[in-house]
Symmetry: C2
Subunit: 221 residues, 2 copies
DNA sequence: CATTTTTATGCAGAGACTGCAAAAATGCAT
DNA sequence: ATGCATTTTTGCAGTCTCTGCATAAAAATG
């Protein structure tokens, strides 16, 4: 008798690939949930890519995924959420990963490492390529996706607050987490615009280095 | 025969206070537009503050502002946009202000100065106090407002690209602008949480100083 | 196979937002 | 003042997102 919704799946985001690609884990139920979620995501991303985003309705997505329109909202809280490249699992792990970094690491280095892992996990997802295309063709959508970044930011705050022995409301902790997430966003954006000439990690490393140097100009490219 | 909307006001955001508080500038039309906009904003912010945001409909707002519901969307593109503390005028000026800063200033200093001006202008607006209350009681709304920050960010990118003689797509320029905006957001948030114990500029200065120091811990409070 | 728990679905409805065209208000020149 | 042009307001119809609720379908369990 949990106080949560009676209708929604108990775990809207089954872990598709936490440690490795454990595709066939869990019972039938879990497998079907993963399948449904992925079907919705793939249908949505493909439709977005082909027809633009405004032109695609939730009903369209569900039709292509062979799922009831009502069910869509059991998996995603909004139409655009299908574009979020990570799930609750990843986010929940983030705080722990921050704690797990070597103690001698500077905060920015730890942040870079953790976010680097997160984004690489996302890039290994089955829909990343199309997602990237969609976001490149429809930059307005980045706004919507950024909301999801906020959840990651909160996780970072949690992790660094503990790691540094400070409160979650600590200004430095907040600034650190927010800046790190912003750096991730800028890196992803630049990487996308550059037609994948350099690796994602390259941009990430370069930008974190800029942060370490106090954002002074002309130090790097 | 401009190709723009036939229905919307030509200038949805008349400049309420560009240089000084020029309340009575322009013809009757301009004055009425300002009045309508402000009426909507005040009604909305007050209702949000008293009843929460989800409980207030656009129709409610319009009823209190004595304006047709349809008209609301001539002034704001979404229900939450009434909470944005600056108008198009401010944003358009931003790029120019970046160019206007003394040439010897470091980028971060210029950014701090420009954003400091922007936020102070916003704080002088008639609805700032209530807006702050609303955002404190309903942190979810910060998400929606952040979208507006993105417009400021774009303006910063423009300004710094020119100031530094780089392209708008330059990675450093992007990172600089994005980080500056993020710092503004964190500063505002911390300032709000602290029940106005310190001045806004204090938080802003402190956080920009942290950036200059490469976000190393323990350097400041 | 009966029971319990979880998920999928259908239905109705609230509410945000848009396009369109008529009406009202304002600006302007005579 | 009066007539004409421009801009803003409004009403209306309609689309679409998203939610609550009740029920059917599915699957885990014993």
């Amino acid at each position: 008798m949990a106080r949560s919704a009676r209708t929604a799946p108990s775990t809207a985001t089954p872990s598709p690939n936490h440690g490795a690609g454990e595709t066939g884990t869990g019972g039938l139920r879990e497998r079907k949930k993963r399948a449904t979620r992925q079907a919705l995501q793939q249908a949505a991303v493909r439709l977005f890519r082909d027809h633009g985003t405004g032109a695609v309705t939730v009903d369209d997505i569900c039709a292509h995924a062979d799922v009831s329109p009502r069910t869509f909202f059991n998996y995603f809280t909004s139409k655009e959420e299908v574009l979020v490249p990570w799930d609750r699992e990843t986010i929940d792990n983030t705080a722990a990963r921050v704690l797990g970094r070597p103690p001698e690491e500077e905060p920015l280095e730890a942040a870079e490492a953790v976010l680097g892992e997160a984004i690489e996990t996302a890039m290994n997802g089955p829909t990343w390529r199309d997602q990237a295309v969609v976001l490149r063709h429809h930059p307005e959508l980045i706004e919507k996706v950024v909301t999801a970044f906020r959840a990651l930011e909160a996780a970072l705050v949690e992790g660094f607050a503990q790691r540094l022995g400070r409160a979650s409301e600590d200004v430095y902790v907040r600034l650190l987490a927010a800046t790190a997430i912003t750096t991730l966003r800028v890196s992803v954006q630049s990487w996308q615009d550059s037609e994948a000439g350099e690796s994602m990690r390259h941009y990430l490393a370069e930008n974190f280095e800029r942060l370490r140097r106090g954002l002074r100009p002309d130090e790097l490219g």
